[in-house]
Amino acid sequence: MAKHEVKSPIPGTFYRKPAPDQPPFKEVGDTVAKGDTVAIVEVMKSFHEIKSDGDGNITAFPIDDAEPVMAGQTIVELD
């Protein structure tokens, strides 16, 4: 059970990278601090950075890159 779950505030398409040809913002095992950008969600052709609202080590990304996400769905699990 993750200690903290970062949820997407908006629905859309979930991206782990800032651009298709760039590496992901974060990988499993990375440390994140509150305010770090962990993903981008594209909603109606506009792109929004999702920032972590907790500190910890990333244990999982429950959604794959470029897949649909619902508002309130967990996108990063922290330990």
């Binding site: 908006i10 629905p11 859309g12 398409t13 909603v43 109606m44 052709k45 506009s46 470029a66 897949e67 649909p68």
Partner: protein, 464 residues
């Protein structure tokens, strides 16, 4: 009934334009096939079409942009033609080719025409050849900086320095003097090199207070007819939000020249289908300059239909089916004034934040001179995966002042619960003296938005 060679039309699009195309096909007696992604199975177009077929997951790249999936859908349903709508694959030359190669009819120009007019430099050269004025600038990429500065002097400052490989406003610099030019141009070149892998830059005159004016044409491969102009100067981040026909800025002399130049350009490329030739218009000098051609039906086509009385979508389908133009230039008379506003699922009081959600109560405006092209119904969940356009409210009246009053009336009748929409923006805009007087240009709206946030918030408050 067959219209030319088309008896069953597949719509390779979604949203309000899919609804619009289904209506045109039905008016022509043509059966319809609506493709849909997993996110669109409950869409209005799917409910309306004669047949429907799933083409993949919500992401456009895996559905509405998947050429193979769309061609397979056409084969599986026995469709003989494909209408691409706007956006998605509508200006994809490879798609137009693939449709033709599959033995189907593409409702639009050939892949070659799309390729030619889609290449900015080639389209500009084509316009020059047809004696259509283009924005003064360098002939292609500039080499020597001192030579370029001399040319910039001749054109007159300010000039725009643009990356040849750029787009979407990236890599643009504006120089006000020769000194500035000589410091900015190398900078722009190295930035372009870093961003696009190509340091090529070219220069264009800055048209300070330009209006965006465009001419609607229909061609059958030989003849071309124009349907007068639209003005779309109200833009936010280069996206049109409010369109009118005719433009209130043109006199008859300029209007005739503008429309004639659009016909000349379309004829020079043997244009087939519906197309729009876009221009910048300089109020101060009365000069107009070609910017680009859109080789598809446009979002704002209804304002033209309202003043001219023709169904442009039906005509483009008939032409694709092999018909000659059914309209001659003498048949096309512009009457009255039309205004369209784009109802987007965005919150104009919150930096136009997209607002997908579920439609609650819906009251559609109606009555004389009002048209509402949309995809809404109560309970409809607007998906977050596509653009935010929900519909277009179009009004017509005998003149512009009456059309503005009618727009106010129609907006008052419109109620879309459950979503934030751009309706309050238009209610606030209707109070602008500049807008009412038609004193606008392409860079008018953005500063107005900054200065009128409270007015928009107040309108939003009185709607909820």
């Amino acid at each position: 009934m067959k219209t030319g060679n088309i008896s069953k039309l597949l719509i390779a699009n979604r949203g309000e334009i899919a609804v619009r195309v289904i209506r045109a096909a039905r008016d022509l007696g043509i059966a319809t096939v609506q493709v849909y992604s997993d996110a669109d199975k409950d869409s209005r177009a799917v409910q309306m079409a004669d047949e429907t077929i799933n083409i993949g997951p919500p992401q456009a790249a895996k559905s509405y942009l998947d050429i193979e999936a769309i061609l397979k859908a056409a084969r599986d349903t026995g469709a003989d033609a494909i209408h691409p709508g706007y956006g998605f694959l509508s200006e994809n030359a490879g798609f137009a080719d693939a449709v033709a190669d599959a033995g189907l009819i593409f409702v639009g120009p050939s892949g070659d025409t799309i390729r030619l007019m889609g290449d900015k430099a080639a389209a500009r050269a084509e316009a020059k050849k047809a004696n259509v004025p283009t924005v003064p600038g360098s002939d292609g990429v500039i080499g020597d900086m001192q030579e370029a500065a001399k040319l910039a002097d001749e054109i007159g400052y300010p000039v725009m320095i643009k990356a040849a490989a750029g787009g979407g406003g990236r890599g643009i610099r504006i120089a006000d003097s020769a000194e500035e030019f000589l410091s900015l141009a190398p900078q722009a070149s190295s930035e372009a090199k870093a961003a696009f892998g190509d340091g090529g830059i070219y220069i264009e005159k800055v048209i300070e207070r330009a209006r965006h004016i465009e001419v609607q044409v229909l061609g059958d491969g030989e003849d071309v007819v124009h349907f007068h102009e639209r003005e779309c100067s109200l833009q936010r981040r280069r996206q049109k939000v409010w369109e009118e026909a005719p433009s209130s800025a043109l006199n008859e002399n300029v209007r005739d020249k503008l429309c004639a130049s659009a016909v000349a350009l379309a004829k020079s490329v043997n244009y087939k289908g519906a197309g729009t030739i876009e221009y910048l218009y300089d109020d101060e000098t009365g000069d107009f300059y070609f910017i680009e051609m859109n080789t598809r039906i446009q979002v704002e086509h209804p304002v033209t239909e309202m003043i001219c009385g023709f169904d442009l979508v039906a005509e483009m389908i008939a032409i694709a089916g092999g018909a000659k133009l059914r309209v001659s230039q003498d048949d096309v008379a512009a009457k009255g004034h039309a205004i369209e506003v784009r109802l987007n699922a965005e919150d104009p009081a919150n930096n136009f934040m997209p607002f997908p959600g579920v439609v609650g109560e819906l009251l559609a405006p109606d009555g004389p001179g009002v048209r509402f092209d949309h995809m809404l119904y109560p309970g409809y969940a607007v998906p977050p995966f596509y653009d935010s356009l929900l519909g277009k409210l179009i009004v017509w009246a005998e003149d512009r002042d009456k059309a503005l009053l009618r727009l106010k009336r129609a907006l008052g009748e419109l109620q879309v619960d459950g979503l934030a929409t751009t309706k309050p923006l238009f209610e606030a805009l209707l109070e602008s003296e500049d807008l009412r007087a038609g004193k606008v240009h392409t860079r008018w709206l953005e500063p107005w938005l900054e200065n009128n946030l409270n007015r928009i918030k107040q309108k939003e408050g009185s709607n909820s």
